[in-house]
Amino acid sequence: MKIEEFKTLLELKLPGIAFKQVRDSLLVENPSDLPKVAFFLKNSDLEIDYLSSVTGSDYLDYLESVYHLYSTTKKTGLITLRVRVKRDAPNVPSLVPIYRSAEFQEREAYDMYGIIYEGHPDLRRLFMWEGFEGFPMRKDYIQEDSEWLEPEDLEWLEKHQVPVTEEMKERAKTPRIIKKDAGE
């Protein structure tokens, strides 16, 4: 089914929910409508029963959560849904109650982009450890300098009785050099 036809069909069946075509995918304008759309897709005679992936992405002005759906019984797909959320309030309703396969994928998107899936049964970090701060795939994430010991490193080394040279201690005091224009 063409995406234009699909959009018309959804608009007919789900009045009151705004869709927008973005290239070859459908943007659900209001994120809170997403579970309704997903429920319809799964339980109508479209039988879109397989959620293959949930992805986050960062477009600087907003964050996006992207869903790829297939039907295994009808052998149709791919249908792509998007929702857009603000960077500072990235709340999206979770699809876990409808598609169980969303569980790990949503955890991954939360881990990397900080998108909060409301209603997820177990929203913890997946790849990074507990206690990791920040969301490393966001474009404004600043990576640590792995060649530069910082005060907490020195503290740790002292605690474990590892000898540290004076030079290194001096270096830890000076702030890191951040080249803003690098790579331009």
Partner: protein, 252 residues
């Protein structure tokens, strides 16, 4: 460590002469090293794609058993050699160091592949440790992505050379006060704490990477995003093949 070959005080010619008569002349050292070198038991663990190559080395075609290292042990207490085969993520690194600490002396480490040496293709990743030699000492570095099984065998032979160069009197593990356990790094809010163990590893004096890319890496390049609402850019036109003058000798 310089590799001193195992020099016997008995003349080699005489030794082989005696050998033909059925008399074996050897030193305790030689016997000791021969035994150790011919049965290096590696630890059975792999971290990423390089592990597949390590498995291939252990299988019939390359057959690491020819070098006596076929017995992959699942316990660090029983193994002599740790082949760090693959990407060491920051989440995995404390466990690798812990496994190293649990190995019994004498113990050796081979880093296999670019990832284990320095982070490899994932060096810029937030989650990848830039080389396991930041926390534990390494005997043989094996470059490659992945190194071929022959390369792993070569690395093993290099390690055997190193073992041959050690003597009972001077080996570290018979000395008093040997400390070969290294503190295990902890998970911090941005990465591992500490970022490296200065006892073992220190940053290079000249860091060309850093000069080129700066720190944090590529921040200027990454802060762009495509505009999805605009129509997709037309594919770049394929340049027409330049009209070339006929070069056949008949034309001239």
């Amino acid at each position: 460590m310089a590799l001193a070959q195992n020099i016997s005080t008995v003349d080699d010619g005489l030794k082989s002469e005696l050998g033909k008569k059925g008399i074996v002349v050897t030193t305790l050292n030689e016997l000791y090293n021969w035994g150790r070198r011919s049965s290096i038991w590696p630890m059975q663990f792999g971290l990423a794609c390089c592990a597949i190559e390590m498995i291939a080395t252990a299988c019939a075609r390359y057959d690491i058993a020819r070098f006596g290292a076929e017995l992959f042990r699942a316990s660090p207490r029983q193994s002599d050699l740790m082949i760090v085969a693959g990407t060491v993520t920051k989440k995995m690194a404390p466990n690798v160091v812990r496994l190293y600490n649990q190995m019994a002396e004498p113990k050796y480490v081979i880093t296999m592949g670019a990832c284990a040496i320095a982070g490899g293709p994932f060096i810029d990743g937030v989650n990848v440790l830039r080389g396991i030699d930041r926390y534990i000492p390494v005997d043989v570095h094996l470059p490659g992505c992945p190194p071929r099984p022959e390369a792993l065998l070569y690395g093993l032979m290099e390690l055997q050379k190193k073992i041959d160069g050690q003597t009972i009197e001077t080996t570290e593990w018979y000395q008093k006060g040997l400390k070969r356990e290294f503190p295990i790094p902890e998970y911090g809010p941005k990465g591992l704490i500490p970022k490296f163990n200065p006892e073992i590893w220190n940053p290079r004096e000249e860091d060309h990477r850093r000069e080129r890319y700066g720190q944090p890496i590529l921040i200027g390049k990454k802060t762009k995003a495509p505009n999805l609402d605009a129509p997709p850019a037309a594919p770049r036109p394929v340049p027409a093949p330049a009209a070339t003058a006929p070069t056949s000798p008949a034309a001239s």
